[in-house]
Amino acid sequence: MASKNLTMNEKPKFWRRVSDLGNTLSLAIALLILCIVWSSLSPYFFTVQNIMNVLMFASILAIRASGLTVSMILGGMDISQNAVGAVTGLLCVLFSISGAPWWQVLILVVLLGLLMGVINATLVTIFKIAAIITTLGTMQIFRGTAWLIKDATVMVTDPVLIALGRGRLFGVIPYVTLIALVVLIVIYYLLNFTSFGRKVYMVGGNERASYLSGINASRVKFVSFVISGLTAGMAGFLVACQVGAALPQSGAGTEMNTISAVILGGISLSGGKGKLSGTILGILILQTINNGLTLLSVNAYFQMVVSGGVLLVAVMIDVVRSGALKKQ
């Protein structure tokens, strides 16, 4: 019977550990190489000021992507996030300039994010519409709603909110980065240390088998889409604070940036696999690339070409490494 164990084609434990780390590790190495290359090409890259700039932009993306990570591990996709953000940003800034104190505005941010998350979640779990189609529909509905609410730019006037978006702790660390850190820690804890997180991985891996094992798959799905909506709302509002104005077209056309980052981070489109650490690295890599190209005064359109190329190369490396192209 000993020979039977061998036929299972199982790698020894140590190597499995390493290959488990593989994706995260290679992303981290890629990021490191990128930083070295940029530092050698531009004297401005490796400065505290610049790195904090990268973090400032990366932070908001990370907040949005952390929720997307949950829904994508579940095997769903949320492309309505930027539209959710636009509605939240617009309504909350309007609320703020109508005289509401900043803390009430923050409560509204959470409520609006939750509300739109619940709408997506209901369509996906109760009406059983495929997530990508649901959010394709709600993306347009939310975007249209944003334009209907106000087809103009609304300036942020509350100094607290401006400070939230642009301010820095001790003049160095952006507040948004601190907020992102808290959000990431919460999502990390949820995914890795709670039964809810384990269920997300289980349902993403095989919804039917999870359901038959007595897991309330619908509830797990519901909560995941609510989380995705909540983080989208928060991100959208922080963008408004950072820009200093809420726009109905905020984030339009860049819906796929978050998804790119998450996929670059190694989260499987079919669900069940992936880590939050991958998502974070994915975002940092994309932001660093853009930042470097900007420092080198490369055309913005060319930056888009590079971002797309990087995503494809990363996925290609993954395909080659997994041996899917080889005939045994």
Binding site: K4, N9, S210, K273
Partner: protein, 513 residues
Amino acid sequence: MRGAFVATGREGVGGEYNLQVRNAVKRFPGVLALDGVDLEIHKGEVLAVIGENGAGKSTLMKILSGALLMDSGEILLDGKVIPPETTPKARMDYGLGIIYQELNYLNEMSIAENLFLGRVPVKGPFRRVDYQGMKQASMDLLRLFNLDYNPFTLVKELSVAEKQILEILRAVSRDVKVLIMDEPTSSLNEVETQRLFGHIENLKNRGVSIIYISHKLEEVFRLADRVMVMRDGKRVGVVDIKDTSSGQLVEMMVGRAITEMYPKEKVPIGDEVLRIEHLSCGCAKDISFSLRKGEIFGLYGLVGSGCVETVEGLLGIKAISSGKVLIDGKEASIGSPIEAKKRGLAYVPSDRKAEGLILIHSLKDNLTITKLDELGKGFMIDNAKAKEYCDTWIDKMQIRTPSRNAIVESLSGGNQQKVVVAKWILTEPKVLIMNDPTRGVDVGAKVEIYKIMEELCSRGISIIMVTAELLEVIGITDRMLVFANGTIAGEFMRNDYDQKTILHMAVKGNENG
């Protein structure tokens, strides 16, 4: 029937082989999957290849079909060497066809289009599809097998059995010389299996050689002329079907004598734990029965007889149209597997890969999936407890795995099934419902699963086993219901089990409908 085909089978046997494999070697990382295997088959012969999971059957077949490259050895077809690197399509052109367990069709296309997939007849300067020619050719093929379908019927409207026959037709239309069939009956019922065997006979008479891979010894005896037994990547032996017995074959497969395939023990039967009254669900109509503590209760019926719907209704997987369920004498409404679990019902589904396990996750994740709520009660999920569960049950069920973190997909069928059973035992169920628990599991592991079932009963768990395998239901259950056409055709106590009566009851009902 057997006499007839022995006669025809012998005609083509003139010492010359249709297909020969010589000294095939295939090495995977860490394993010698094929260790110098030979195989030869005569024209118009059925050669059964049997062996436990992991014996090397599939590897050998994949090498024949061109899906895998062998490290050394050669394949000769009609005396000519086939270049080892030829693709599956090229092998087809040589006349070497394979029908896999998982059938490959385009469901949204017609029978004719599927038959001529990849070589659709065309005519005219614009290479228009010649539907008329395709229809004619398809009808000729269908007629060969006495089938009466419209060639433009969509494949999705056919049953699994019909699709299987379609696959045979596809091979015949390509003028196949040797056809490999990998467990073709795994999803067929008794009647359909009979029909398939008729078609195989037909193929034989046309001089096609058939390599038939199966787990079911019963079928091997009905169909094969010779049997080749494999174990641990080696050919253990080839025997004429006339000169062997199932006992001998099992011994050759396992390498040791299985004194008893069905280790039935005396377990005291207690009070009623579950009662179903007038339950209707899907095609199952007005089903009533009761289950007692420590009992193994069989629901036997062919595919579509209603026994699967009965348990799916009981578990809340499918909505019931009427009837009630009583657990410990109290009425229980069960609307979903979640409630079923709370009421102490556990379910081992028949499709292990799609419904029983999350293949991409580890043994630990799969085993503890039923306990996540309890493990996650504290601030952090209780990993130490999860590990303890795993180690306990890997040991108790003798799950052969490199570690508790092994991905379940890499385990053998029998070990996967043990994981499914173990995850439910963790919930300490009152009733364990097993749907075809030994499907695709090798002989050795089957016996182990039966032993586990006995062990559970002695600990006071009751088991409902749904199966379409007669020998199994007779071998292991204390009491059984025979289903036919969605109703209960009869009930038997163990002492009154009689193969012929039971089979007759199940099949007769089926034909009446």
